[in-house]
Every structure is written in structure tokens, then in C-alpha cells.
Amino acid sequence: MLSVSGLTKTFDQQPVFSGFTLTVTRNRFAVLIGPSGCGKSTFFDVLTGVTPADEGLISWQGSDVDHLGDLAAYMHQKDLLLPWFSLLENSLLPARTGGEDLKQARQRAIQLFSRLGLDGYEKHLPHQVSGGMRQRCALVRTLMFNRDLVLLDEPLSALDAITRKSLQSLLLLLQSEFNRTLLMITHDVDEALLLADDLYLLSVKPMRVVEKIELYDDKPRRFDNPELLAIKKTIMQKLEGDIDHVS
């Protein structure tokens, strides 16, 4: 279980968030959704130790940690594949830097390539494949971290709608098949509704949780479900209310 309490971060005397508190239960898919510039990426920076928090506690599995830099895997909107390495070599980077046995890691990576629909693309360079393929490879790399917690910062927002759909089902695999605990940022309400177990609506800066919505369990979800549509309607109203509040 990931738990964050009283987290505060200030840039130039302006609090990005102050006393931010959030709990993500193990093997759940938590999604943060909020207006852009509200501090979501800064929150992840604090979580991963890229920038220190001013105050607050982070704990993972019941014990306090400074940050999650060596406990969480991370996936970004950009695929962050190194152009000089093949897709397979890229996916093996966490194994290399982690000093794992490369032979075993390679076997595992090749299996993941085929599981995520990248069969036969192991030797391709990143620029030789589509954006969707690259993001799949980034997903393989994320899994190769071997870390229970996965942080996703708008991982699919650079992709076109159709590619995004197929990648969304792969994100669900992270939870159902690979037992990861997921914390994802998105600004796509539909995506959030399809993937989340726990959906957190965030306010504008200074960021705080406006509302936590627990969604029903069965996934994959479809938008012809009236329950989901009803939830979507509430969320849209809340988000719009927030926008009115700003202007």
C-alpha cells in the first residue's frame, strides 16, 4: 500500500500542493484526473525523489521512505526510448542498470514482447516503428523494472485515439496479469473511467483531492453501461464546476 500524507511543495512561495494526502491500495488502479498545471507531474517528481518535498510523509508497505525512486517503475508521455538501442536493448535497460542476469532478463523481455504484441520487432530501432509500438516497448521496459508500483504520467496522451484504445487494454494487463499497483495521471475522462478502480478528482493549484470515486469492479468496462455513463456525468459536472470556479 502506498500512502502519502501532509505532502507540501512550494515553488517561489506558491504552494503547488500543501498537506496533500492520498492512499493507494495494493494491486489497485488509481487514477488522478485534474486540470493541467494543477501539480500532478510535480507530485510525481516528489514521489520519485526528483525534487524534494518541503514537508510530508511517504510510506510504502507500511514503512516510511524518503521517496519511491528505487521502489516504483515509471512511464512517461514520451516513450523515452534511446534511439541508439534496439527495442529489445531498450527494454533491457532496467535489467542492465539493476545488475540482473542478462540472459534471464532477455528471455523475460522476449516473452513480454510477444505478450504485448511486439513479436518480431526486437531488433528494430525506435525510429523504425510507430508511436504505438514505441509506447508498447516503453511498457515492456516498465515491466522489466520488476517493481510492484508503477507510476504513469499521461502515458498515452501522445497517441492517436485508436492506438490509445489498444494500449489501454495493455495497461489493464499490468494490473490483472502482472499484479502491479498503478497510479496514473490522465486528463482523459473516458480513459480514467475505463481503467480506474479509484478515481481521484483534483482541484486547481494548490492541488487537493476534491473527490474520490470508487468504481465498480468488472473490467473491461464499456460505455453502454448506464452505471458508467451516470458516473461520467457526475464527473463532467464536477470538472466543469471547477472550471467555472476558476474563471
Binding site: D45, T48, G49, V50, G69, D70, A72, A73, Y74, H76, K78, L80, L82, P83, W84, L93, P94, R96, T97, G98, L125, H127, Q128, F145
Partner: protein, 251 residues
């Protein structure tokens, strides 16, 4: 041949043709300005004389490159790894650029004598600066998100250097090296002018004193060809080491 290549070739032929014609029409003596054909002839026929000198100059430049890289690469890495080191050294780097290196040539003869050492040092000093600065810039230009990724993967500095920063900075490195080797050729020759026992610069001074102007030009021709060779050599090395970019252009 592309249009621009054709034009370049045309201009070359035109200039050489005009030169040749001027020399013949006005019957300019060879010891004032020899025509291109004579120069080419001298460059070929006197090859046994010129070659050892060319080898010396080439050796000086290559050793100069080696020496410069041996200092520049660790220094750029160090300044990148420790920002305080960069802060401390960058004023010196800037000031060192204000010194006209060519003006050091006579001093280098006093300190290091008439041999190759002074010329090697001269070439090295010239190459050192652009390589160090551009390599450091290259390291620094690495995107923040990639650094964060490597941090999260738990990669140490040297591992990140090898897997990320170094390949990232390669295009910058080669841009600096290209600038460096071109100027280094001039540096080595000036070093030889001031005081040497061998080398194309030495040959030029000797030939000039004896009014063998065709030999002076022949030496310049050899020097130019060596410069071109270096330029393309660096370009070839660049293509080889940045293979992923080359592929990108093909696609």
C-alpha cells in the same frame, strides 16, 4: 551529380582555367605565380621529396588530436559530473580562448625545440577547446526526462554516462572535432614556419626562400588534400559511430 555539386565543380574549373590563362597570356614568371598545371605537375613529380614532410605534418596533427582528446574527454566528463569543477574552470577556458594560440608558436620553439613536440602541442591546444566545450554542451543537452528515467532505474553516473550521455553527446563531439581538426592543420604549419627541421610548413619556408614558388604551391596543395582527408575522416567516423542517425535519413 547533383546541381550544387555540378556548380561547385564548374566554379573550380573556371577559377583554375582563368588562373592558367592569366599566367600564359601575361607570361608571368613561374617564381612569381606558377600556373595550376605546373603546380599539379610539381606536386606529383616532387612527391618523393614532399611525402616525408607531409608525413611529419600529418603525424603532428594526428598526435595533436590524440593528445587533445585525451585531455578534453575526461575534462568535459569531470566538469559535467561536478558542476563546481565547471564553475571553477570555465573562466580559464574562456580566457584561454582570448589568447591567440598562433602567437605562442615562437615560445613553443623556445620551450620544446625544433622537433615535433611543439607542433603537436600547438595542434592539441587548438583542438582541445572546441572539443571540450561542445562535448560538455552535448552532455548538458540531454533531456531531463531521460535523466529521471536513468535515476529511477538506479543507474550510477558512469553507467548513465556510457549508456545515455555519451551517445547523446556524440553529434556535438564530432561538430567540435570537425572545427578543431581544420584549424589544427593551420596550427601545425605555423608551428613549422617558426622553427622546424621537417614538415610541410618547413618545406614551404625553404622553397619560398629559394623562389621555388611552384614547390610552395605544391606543398599547399598537399596540405589542402590532407585537410580534406582529415575532414572526411572525421565525417566517416561520425557516420560510423552515430549509425542510428544515418538510418533515420535513409527512411
Amino acid at each position: 551529380m547533383s546541381r550544387s555539386n555540378l556548380l561547385a565543380f564548374g566554379i573550380l574549373v573556371l577559377v583554375l582555367g582563368l588562373w592558367e590563362a592569366t599566367c600564359r597570356i601575361f607570361a608571368i614568371p613561374i617564381f612569381i605565380l606558377p600556373p595550376p598545371l605546373i603546380i599539379a605537375q610539381t606536386a606529383v613529380l616532387k612527391a618523393p621529396l614532399i611525402l616525408p614532410h607531409a608525413l611529419t605534418t600529418g603525424m603532428e596533427i594526428v598526435c595533436g588530436i590524440g593528445l587533445a582528446l585525451a585531455v578534453a574527454i575526461p575534462l568535459a566528463m569531470g566538469m559535467f559530473a561536478w558542476p563546481w569543477l565547471e564553475k571553477a574552470l570555465s573562466p580559464f577556458l574562456v580566457v584561454s580562448q582570448a589568447i591567440p594560440v598562433f602567437a605562442l608558436a615562437p615560445l613553443l620553439v623556445v620551450w620544446l625545440g625544433y622537433g615535433m613536440a611543439g607542433k603537436i602541442l600547438m595542434a592539441a591546444i587548438i583542438i582541445f577547446f572546441p572539443v571540450t566545450v561542445s562535448l560538455l554542451e552535448g552532455f548538458k543537452s540531454c533531456d531531463r526526462e531521460f535523466r529521471v528515467l536513468f535515476r529511477l532505474m538506479g543507474a550510477g553516473f558512469w553507467q548513465t554516462m556510457r549508456l545515455l550521455y555519451w551517445p547523446w553527446a556524440l553529434p556535438h563531439f564530432f561538430a567540435g572535432l570537425r572545427v578543431g581538426v581544420t584549424v589544427a592543420t593551420i596550427g601545425a604549419v605555423i608551428g613549422e614556419w617558426v622553427g622546424a627541421q621537417k614538415g610541410l610548413g618547413y618545406l614551404m619556408i625553404q622553397a619560398n626562400a629559394r623562389l621555388k614558388v611552384d614547390l610552395v604551391f605544391a606543398a599547399i596543395l598537399w596540405l589542402s588534400l590532407m585537410g580534406l582527408l582529415l575532414w572526411f575522416g572525421v565525417g566517416w567516423l561520425e557516420k560510423k559511430s552515430i549509425h542510428w542517425k544515418e538510418n533515420q535519413q535513409i527512411l
